[in-house]
């Protein structure tokens, strides 16, 4: 539904009904859209920052569309794994708002360093969603160009990418690309488990002392495979930032509006030269850690049901309906687009060819290696000795 359509609201920007202070209970978090779809105009964070969003109707609908598409593509990937077409899949189910909110908060010039679960951020960066499926199908190692899309390769070693993000952000500052409204910022994604890693803590130290233009974006989905948050920390994760000397804030990670507001604010602070900050996006991993995991062994159904009631998409739909920002045709159109994109993804995954075995020797070194040349030649000779073999 475009602006000016019959039934569209007269105003492009909507005033929300009321404002309030952030709750100070547990969990203390920034929220602009409650689980029941109630819109909160603005929230003051723990450091006095006022968070609000000012979206057009079209932008609200766009966020909803992102959330639905990202969930559908993720579900398709899970199905493909179950049918033997992928070796593994790390589902983002439940974390769509944290990823779309932060992903859409990035400006074109910003650089992102993901874990292996940031399919939603990848989508927001304009990367073909087939790309990570090559990695999980086992036909390549992930095929996009990190510098073209400003989105680094997936990193599977937990927390390692936070140091890469920190170094990249140091380079941004060394290039003189901070200190202005159109400066560059960097975002590092990681999870609650990663906060126990040395690399993440080293990244906190480095980003702090070098005042790197970096946002640490922790999706606290409550579990590191089977281990609950209590095994990683005794304090709320966002409060760790204080000890390293930069701001920390906890946001409702199932609220795409609040996540956007908090991430945009932190990124803009970083690009303007105000240094790093930590966002703890408080969310929940609704599915398994990966398709190889069985969460029924370590968590109870009632906990999952409680989080089901905080679903990021359902609350957005209630909001759009209640405020008459979208009609039934819009929702049907989004669902149809999701269905088509998922089908397209499936068809293209099934058509992904296995790489030629000899390609395993490619790209080990920029300048090559005589040892590898020798091994490649020996392998090729051996491989070709079999009848019917071909590269």
């Amino acid at each position: 539904m475009a602006k000016g359509d019959p039934g569209a609201p007269a105003r492009g920007r909507r005033a929300a009904p009321r404002s309030r202070k952030a709750t100070t209970g547990d969990p203390e978090l920034v929220q602009l859209l409650t689980p029941s779809g109630e819109r909160i105009e603005s929230v003051t964070g723990p450091d006095g920052t006022e968070y609000r969003v000012d979206f057009t109707d079209e932008e609200y609908r766009g966020l909803y569309r992102d959330l639905v598409l990202v969930r559908k593509l993720d579900a398709e990937a899970t199905a493909l794994q179950r049918q033997g077409e992928l070796g593994l899949w790390a589902s983002l189910l439940g974390q769509e708002a944290a990823q779309v909110g932060s992903g859409r908060a990035l400006r074109a010039q910003d650089m992102a360093f993901p874990t292996y679960r940031e399919h939603g951020v990848l989508y927001c960066r304009g990367i073909d969603p087939i790309m990570p499926l090559g990695l999980f199908r086992g036909v390549d190692q992930g095929g996009w160009d990190p510098n073209e899309f400003k989105f680094n390769m997936y990193t599977i070693v937990i927390g390692a990418q936070t140091l890469h993000a920190t170094g990249y952000a140091m380079g941004v500052a060394m290039d003189g690309k901070t200190g202005t409204d159109d400066g560059e910022a960097v975002i590092a994604y990681f999870g609650d488990g990663a906060t126990s890693q040395g690399d993440v803590n080293e990244a906190f130290v480095w980003a702090s002392v070098f005042n790197a233009p970096l946002v640490f974006f922790c999706q606290n989905n409550q579990y590191a495979i089977s281990e609950p948050l209590e095994r990683q920390t005794r304090v709320p994760l966002y409060r760790r930032a204080a000890g390293f000397g930069f701001p920390g804030v906890r946001v409702d990670g199932n609220d795409v509006l609040a996540t956007y507001a908090v991430a945009r604010h932190a990124l803009d602070n970083a690009r303007q030269g105000q240094g790093p900050s930590l966002i703890e996006a408080y969310t929940y991993r609704m599915g398994a850690h990966t398709t190889s995991d069985d969460p029924t062994r370590y968590r109870i159904a009632s906990e999952v049901e409680a989080w089901q009631a905080k679903d990021p998409i359902a609350r957005m739909k209630v909001f759009l309906e209640r405020e008459q920002l979208a009609d039934a045709d819009f929702f049907a159109d989004v669902d149809e687009q999701a269905r088509r994109e998922a089908l397209d993804l499936r068809e293209r995954v099934l058509a992904m060819p296995n790489p030629a075995p000899v390609t395993m020797f490619d790209h080990v070194y920029p300048n090559g290696s005589p040892l590898l040349d020798e091994q490649r030649a020996q392998f090729t000779k051996y491989f070709d000795s079999f009848e019917g073999s071909a590269h």
Binding site: F113, D140, Q141, G142, G143, D145, P146, N147, N152, M153, T155, V157, A160, T162, L163, H164, A165, T166, G167, Y168, A169, M170, G171, V172, M174, D175, G198, D199, E202, A203, V205, W206, V209, D362, H363, V364, Y365, P366, N367, S369, P370, L371, L372
Partner: protein
């Protein structure tokens, strides 16, 4: 300037200076590399002349040094990381092996990580534990890394610049006990005409047996060859220079002439570089060998207390003892 007599450490220092001058994207990072000039003074004076954005004193965290260097490399910089001592590289091991080494491969060639990781290695300086180790096999075993070691001031000066100019990630092993040894260095010879980085070289021509060494053991083997000459044995000494990939063409040619080979390194023998070299020399030179390829190495103990390190480290007598054994076969 032409040819000057310099210590190996000073030759490295001038080589680093040239790299900083020639490419604004080159940065040096490490612990104490700035005002102090590094604990061995290899970066002496560089921060003063190039500023603290080019020569960066880092927090005391080795994984952080390498991990942030990876990010800087993705951003387009060419970081030179100094690891203060061999035994302190292990906190960075994951970043080196899982990130630095694999990024070009994983990205299908889209990302280059042109890092140089400088590590003073080896013993013989009377240090406390963790300051005398030889970790080269760990890195040589890792696909995606290249590993080199210099043995002379001339090579130190040239090889450090070649390593920095290379787009491959390179572990650059510096023979710390040779930092103060002097030799002639041609400071004006153009890098483009220099002897290649990944190539072994005959350090002393001989006819009777081939000694294979790198880094600190090249000097030991040259001394052994001098002593052997007095006994009428003419030993060839090959400075391997590149440990990954190994350049063994010159070695095969030598062993086919001499029929005898002894590999010498400070690192323990078990699954060390010597084992790989012996295996490959045996495969390539089987019918030329008059004896098995022998190894003279450190022992398979942790690096011992300094007062007994002279017995742990290969020296002239142990090298000649091995040569004698190749003749007694």
């Amino acid at each position: 300037m032409a040819t000057e007599t310099l210590t190996l450490g000073k030759a490295l220092n001038i080589g680093l200076r040239k790299a900083l001058e020639n490419d604004p994207k080159v940065v040096i990072m490490g612990e104490d590399v700035g005002k102090l000039g590094g604990v061995f003074r290899i970066t002496d004076g560089l921060q003063k002349d190039f500023g603290d954005q080019r020569v960066i004193d880092t927090p005391l965290a080795e994984s952080g040094i390498i991990g942030t260097a990876v990010g800087l490399a993705i951003r387009g910089y060419r970081p030179i990381c100094e690891i203060q001592f061999d035994g302190f590289v292990y906190p960075a091991y994951d970043q080196i092996v899982s990130q630095v080494a694999k990024m070009h491969y994983r990205s299908g060639g889209k990302l280059r990580i042109p890092l140089v990781i400088r590590i003073p290695f080896g013993g013989g300086i009377g240090a406390v534990e963790h300051h005398s180790e030889s970790p080269e096999a760990y890195f040589a075993h890792t696909a995606g890394l290249k590993v080199v070691s210099c043995a002379s001031p001339q090579d130190a000066y040239v090889m450090i610049q070649q390593a920095i100019a290379s787009d491959d990630p390179i572990v650059f092993l510096e023979p710390k006990r040779r930092y103060w040894e002097k030799g002639p260095v041609d400071l004006d010879a153009p890098l483009s005409e220099a002897y290649p980085l990944h190539a072994a070289r005959i350090a002393r021509a001989g006819t009777d047996a081939t000694l294979l060494a790198y880094g600190p053991m090249v000097r030991t083997c040259l001394d052994a060859a001098t002593a052997a000459a007095e006994d009428g044995r003419n030993l060839e000494v090959i400075d391997l220079r590149t440990l990954s990939p190994l350049d063994l063409g010159v070695v095969y040619e030598s062993v086919r002439r001499t029929g005898r080979a002894v590999v010498v390194h400070e690192a323990p023998s078990n699954v060390g570089l010597g084992a790989e070299i012996a295996a490959r020399v045996t495969e390539e030179c089987f019918y030329s060998l008059e004896s098995p390829v022998l190894r003279v190495t450190g022992f398979d103990t942790p690096y011992p207390a300094a007062r007994v390190e002279e017995e742990y480290l290969p020296d002239l007598d142990r090298v000649l003892d091995a040569v004698d054994r190749t003749f007694g076969w």
